[in-house]
């Protein structure tokens, strides 16, 4: 198990990790502080002026210093919408992973420790779940939801729906990872020692085994956040994700898409760049984390 000092040292010695971490931090801060630092509040209808629509970025002809990256079709500043949008994307990503994580870890723990038919049942359930594409299920569910409720209800519940759908669809990944860790730990003698004292199975699972399975969970969490954000972006792009008045990065890309050919390319481009950078940073960090926490790749001085 790597020590905290060793972890920090490894981080500081890897330029990729530092860059990815820095970028991620920046994006998170930007999202969290959006209400304070965004030039405008793009969702405040009082602030919008349709005359401001489709203005190019400030360095181009026709640009306006109020809107550094230009405006979209409704006159909202692209920079501001990106700031708020990143927050929504992150919220959905992290929320979904929390749902996946809790559900998957619990089921994986039970399957691994109990074994037998419970394990078989849960793993077959996981297999079935994994063979159904998340995107496909999400599309079906969201389409039904959208059709069944009016736009306002949809808008209110969209974010929760997305978190839960993506969360529930992806629990098998966590379950499998935790289960294989549990299978490995179950046979170690410290678990025997706990049984010798007579600790009940539940207590052994949670207090002894669970903490020792968390390392792989941490690794896949980062990458799963990236995946959840991408899934949500794809859904939004298809029109099934976040509504246009509370857009995530994906919905922003969508709403700007039709304007690419009419010339206002900045409406799509900048949100797209931010989305790519966010996903890239998360993936790089996740990869780095996997290498650092892998006991077989440890260097002697950690």
């Amino acid at each position: 198990m790597i020590s905290l000092k060793g972890f920090i040292r490894r981080f500081l010695s890897d330029p990729v990790a530092i860059a990815a971490g820095f970028v991620l931090l920046l994006l998170i801060l930007m999202a969290v502080l959006a209400p304070l630092i965004a030039p405008q509040n793009p969702y405040d209808l009082m602030q919008l002026d349709i005359m401001d629509s489709e203005m190019p970025p400030v360095w181009r002809e026709g640009g306006d210093p109020r809107f550094l990256l230009g405006t979209d079709a409704q006159g909202r500043g692209v920079l501001s919408t990106i700031m708020y949008g990143t927050g929504i994307s992150l919220m959905i990503g992290i929320g979904a992973v929390i749902v996946q994580g809790v559900l998957g870890t619990t089921l994986g723990l039970i399957a691994g420790y109990k074994g037998g038919w419970i394990d078989a049942f849960l793993m077959r359930l996981a297999d079935i779940q994994m063979s159904l594409s998340t995107l496909m299920i999400a599309i079906i569910v969201l389409a039904i939801f959208q059709a069944g409720f009016d736009a306002n209800t949809y808008a209110d519940y969209a974010i929760i729906m997305l978190i839960f759908i993506i969360g529930i669809a992806e629990w098998p990944k966590f379950a499998r990872t935790v289960r294989s860790s549990v299978l490995g730990e179950k046979n170690k003698e410290y678990v025997d020692a706990a049984r010798v004292i007579g600790l009940p199975a539940r207590k052994i699972m949670v207090t002894h085994i669970l903490p020792n399975t968390l390392t792989p969970v941490l690794v896949i969490s980062t990458i799963q956040v990236a995946e959840a954000i991408m899934t949500e972006a794809a859904l939004s792009f298809l029109g099934l994700g976040m509504p246009t008045d509370r857009p995530s990065l994906g919905s922003l890309i969508r709403s700007g898409f039709e304007f690419i050919f009419s010339g206002s390319w900045w409406i799509t481009l900048y949100p797209a760049i931010v989305l790519v950078v966010l996903i890239l940073a998360l993936n790089l960090l996740g990869d780095w984390l996997r290498d650092v926490l892998n006991p077989k790749l440890r260097r002697g001085d950690d």
């Binding site: 410290y190 025997d192 007579g198």
Partner: protein, 337 residues
């Protein structure tokens, strides 16, 4: 010695009155995983009718090679496994069928030390937490300060430094971890400890330290050990009585001096011959490889027949029971005297 001089078929060692731990007819069978469509259900016989009685204060050693069932026996006695047949007694009470509530107080008195010091301590818990857990679970009446005092006492008794309490297992060497594991086994003041190959994973110079520690603790606290090992030289030095196991059965059971001076079972003799000697010379005659019979499909007679130098037809069909010899040893062989 004529047959008449050999005493009766031995009942299990001295009846239960003074034994601290006793097993009667214990069998452990494992069903092997099979294809769900196949008709056969192979069963691994890990323990086949084992009767032993361990007296208070002794170091009862169980020796044998891999597959003999010694670890299974230890685990069955301590409660990690349920025997498929037979009974296990602790201080006269039958423990293998007890429910957890009744067994809990008895767990204070029975503890275990495991073989692998690198796996027997939870890597995420510091030493104090690991040692306090048995007290918290089995002796909930103890207060926080009493718990702390007991942990410190046991650390001191095993040669561990009190500063170790805040540290994690990976900060210690194998020998140190084994001391901590022994401390954990002592923390509830048990009367009986099952030690499953406690020194096999340690370096030679550390083995002596740990053995001495276990010896000292036994003298100070009146402990009874069930010492499981494959190393006969340790048994000779440390054990009071020895049971030699082969394929789930006890082949010979005797006082240590008796066994080493005059081993009666052919397997015991083979084991003793195989020990490399400092004076040399025992490896000069290569022997053909011993074929171990299949523990799943055990032949009816004596399990040692394929490797036995004095085996006869009778051995293939009739299984010898443990019988008591004149010198006090019990041997499972048709021809021992």
């Amino acid at each position: 010695m004529t047959d008449a001089a050999v005493t009766d078929r031995a009942a299990p060692d001295a009846p239960a009155t003074d034994a601290i731990v006793e097993t009667r007819g214990v069998e452990v069978r494992f069903a092997l995983p099979t294809h769900f469509l196949s008709r056969e259900k192979p069963v691994l016989h890990a323990l086949n009718t084992v009767d032993i009685a361990i007296r208070p204060g002794e170091s009862f050693c169980v020796v044998g090679e891999s597959g003999c069932g010694k670890t299974t026996l230890g685990r069955a006695i301590i409660g990690l496994l349920k025997p498929s047949a037979g009974e296990i007694y602790f201080n006269g009470q039958r423990i293998d069928t007890m429910d957890e509530a009744t067994r809990k107080p008895i767990r204070r008195d029975m503890q275990m030390v495991f073989q692998n010091p690198y796996a027997s301590l939870n890597p995420r818990r510091n030493v104090f937490e690991t040692l306090a857990e048995p007290i918290r679970h089995l002796m909930p009446e103890k207060s926080q300060s009493e718990t702390r005092a007991q942990v410190e006492e046991v650390l001191d008794a095993t040669g561990c430094d009190p500063s170790w309490q805040r540290k994690l297992p990976h900060e210690f060497s194998g020998g140190q971890r084994q001391r901590i594991a022994i401390a954990r086994a002592l923390v509830t003041n048990p009367a009986f400890i099952v030690a499953d190959e406690p020194i096999s994973a340690l370096d030679v110079s550390i083995q002596a330290q740990i053995l001495n520690l276990m010896s000292d603790l036994q003298d100070e606290r009146g402990l009874t050990y069930l010492f499981i090992t494959h190393d006969l030289s340790v048994v000779e030095h440390f054990g009071t009585r020895v049971a030699v196991m082969y394929l789930g059965r006890v082949m010979e059971l005797a006082e240590t001096e008796t066994l080493f001076a005059a081993p009666k079972h052919p397997y015991t003799q083979l084991l003793l011959d195989a020990i490399p000697r400092i004076e040399g010379g025992s490896f000069d005659n290569p022997k053909p490889p011993g074929e171990l019979p299949d523990p799943v499909n055990m032949p009816p007679g004596c399990p040692f027949t394929p490797r036995c130098a004095i085996a006869e037809e009778r051995c293939r069909t009739e299984r010898p029971e443990l019988r008591r010899l004149e010198n006090g040893a019990q041997v499972a062989c048709h021809f021992a005297d």
